[in-house]
């Protein structure tokens, strides 16, 4: 029964990944960065003495900082794990053999994605003991932690799918890597820039003195840029009052997380669809 649902590519990838020194060095680097942040934070807030005072509000700040750093690391590591998934097989000349097996394109693509997601989830779980420090000092609810982790999961699956799509449609891993990091920069940075540009134009429009049939013509666009930006969503999760401010500024009442979820699920579906279609690009049928 289990065999019906097993995915050989997923099992093989997990085996290869956990036999590689690179995976463990990556995990060590990730945890080292988090430890450094937590240690530094605690030392600064307790003024480098064992008798320092640490308030629950400080604990929340540490949680917020930890979450942002973890998000940054996830966004940085995910392309590295997925952007070579198919192109590396092509470069190592193992892809053609894999494609002549009876595994379907979707099995291969999903197996590749899940193996990367599994490793990233392991990374997130490995960082949990550091989060326990936050709970030691209070100031954060478990639901906030769960929400943040769900947000990570949605984001890393979407970024992973983008990486796998580029890996499938490009021949070289380096090109795929550049394209995936480019998409990351767009989602994480350029959307924020466009959001602020939209807000500025809004302001200019409002104070230009021209007749205004529509008082906030740029608002939906600004809202869209904010709603697909992982940083913006994180801020609204950590500080719910920011979500209300954003809604009042742009005049759109749909919660940011709803738009974010819809957009990233669509991105995931689109990228996986393209990857599955293009895996056997030289065949007319995709069976």
């Amino acid at each position: 029964m289990m065999e019906r649902f097993s995915n050989p590519v997923l099992l093989k990838e997990l085996k290869l990944r956990f036999r590689s020194f690179k995976s463990f060095s990556g995990l060590m680097f990730y945890l080292a960065v988090l430890c450094l942040f937590v240690t530094g934070f605690l030392l600064i807030y307790t003024q480098f003495s064992g008798t320092g005072f640490f308030k629950p509000s400080d604990s929340f700040t540490m949680f917020a900082g930890l979450s942002v750093i973890q998000m940054g690391l996830v966004m940085f590591i995910t392309p590295g794990l997925t952007a070579g998934a198919i192109s590396t097989e092509r470069e190592k000349q193992t892809l053609n053999i894999l494609l002549t097996t009876t595994q379907s394109s979707s099995q291969i693509i999903i197996g590749k994605l899940l193996s990367s997601v599994a490793f990233l989830v392991l990374m997130l779980l490995a960082g949990l003991p550091l989060y326990s420090l936050v709970f030691l000092f209070g100031g954060v609810s478990p639901s906030q932690l769960i929400t943040i982790f769900l947000f990570y999961l949605v984001t890393l699956i979407a970024i992973g799918s983008i990486g796998i799509m580029f890996s499938t449609i490009t021949k070289k891993t380096i090109v795929s890597m550049i394209a995936t990091y480019g998409a990351m920069i767009f989602l994480g940075g350029i959307t924020a820039f466009l959001f602020f540009v939209g807000l500025s134009m809004e302001q200019m429009f409002m104070y230009s003195g021209t007749p205004q049939p529509n008082a906030t013509p740029f608002s939906p666009i600004s809202y869209f840029w904010a709603s697909i930006n992982p940083g913006a969503l994180m801020i609204t999760i950590l500080y719910p009052e920011m979500a209300s401010s954003l809604e009042s500024v742009v005049g759109v009442s749909i919660p940011v997380w709803v738009s974010y979820l819809i957009f990233y699920v669509l991105i995931t579906a689109f990228c996986l669809f393209i990857a599955i279609r293009k895996l056997r690009a030289n065949m007319k049928t995709n069976r």
Binding site: L11, K15, Q93, T94, I97, L98, T100, T102, N282
Partner: protein, 312 residues
């Protein structure tokens, strides 16, 4: 009919890689595909292995169409490409296990099959070695074992002996002979043409995407018999012998090797003409002590046929 190729054509823009290839092979036949680099061998094999769609035509493997039923075709074929890589951090048995699972074989069946396959390719003692540490010849044999894991009816082997040293080549040839005795239909391409002649039931010669000859080795060699090379050895007076043979209307391209007392020439006549030529030579007191036909191996056949195709 195990393999039935009908008008297979593959075009890349204006370039035709494969031009209306039609070929049928019965079950258990070992078919050797001969052709220069870029002639269309690998394109044909890629289409048969469902890696490439033809521009026109179709191929049936055990009755399944590579165009309409690629997944069914994959169950019927074991494919070994000319260049392939391996997963560095898998051991030999894990490598086979992964592909066994990829073909949907149950774990219990794989556990029984893997030692048998490793034994077949003489790699039993390397079962727990990392694939990356195996020699080129061992990797080739492991890849062959992989292509057999789902017990395919047809084996498609693209240059299986390329890059191997003579010993590894002999080992590979022995394994292929064993597979032939198991009744597998084997399509094999190779640059080592005499080796193909030894083990193939049928040969196909492809040039510029066209199948220019097909048959057993003897039939293909017969195509050359319209002009054979004859070597005559005489005791002395080579010039007299040369003048005699030059008069014959079927003789051309005479070469005289004084050191060996040998005259070689191309002869277009039939067997009876050849008998008459020899009789006349003896009557003319030409001191002939040997007359032989130059043996042509598959390589000569290939060179002659492809040269002919180029000239057209």
């Amino acid at each position: 009919m195990m393999v039935d190729i009908q008008g297979l054509t593959k075009k890349y823009g204006s370039f035709t890689a494969l031009d209306n290839l039609t070929l049928s092979l019965d079950e258990g036949v070992v078919f050797g595909f001969v052709g220069a680099n870029g002639a269309g061998k690998s394109t044909t094999f890629s289409i048969l292995s469902t890696l490439l769609s033809p521009t026109a035509g179709d191929a049936l493997i055990n009755g399944k169409s590579v165009v309409r039923e690629p997944k069914e075709v994959r169950k019927q074929i074991g494919y070994m490409p000319d260049f392939f890589g391996v997963y560095d951090q898998l051991k030999a048995d894990e490598y086979l296990d992964f592909y066994g699972a990829s073909y949907g074989l149950p774990a219990a069946e794989r556990r029984v099959l893997i030692p048998q396959l490793l034994e077949l390719v003489n790699l039993s003692e390397k079962r727990y070695e990392y694939v990356d540490l195996l020699s080129r010849g061992m990797k080739q044999r492991l890849c062959l074992a992989r292509s057999l894991i789902h017990d395919p009816k047809v084996l498609i082997l693209d240059e299986p002996a390329s890059g191997l040293d003579p010993r590894a080549r002999v080992e590979m040839r022995d394994i292929l002979k064993h597979l032939k005795s198991m009744g597998k239909t084997i399509l094999i391409s190779s640059h080592i043409l005499p080796e193909l002649a030894e083990m193939c039931d049928e040969i196909g010669v492809i040039d510029n995407g066209k199948l220019i000859a097909h048959g057993n080795v003897a039939q293909i060699q017969d195509q050359l018999q319209s002009e054979k090379r004859i070597i005559v050895k005489v005791m002395d007076d080579l010039e007299l012998a040369r003048a005699f043979f030059e008069e014959d209307p079927f003789v051309s391209s005479i070469e005289v090797t004084h050191g060996k007392s040998e005259i070689a020439f191309n002869y277009r006549g039939k067997t009876m003409d050849q008998v008459n030529l020899l009789r006349k030579a003896l009557l003319a007191d030409i001191p002939i002590f040997s007359l032989t036909e130059e043996e042509k191996d598959l390589e000569d056949v290939f060179m002659a046929i492809t040269k002919g195709a180029d000239d057209k």
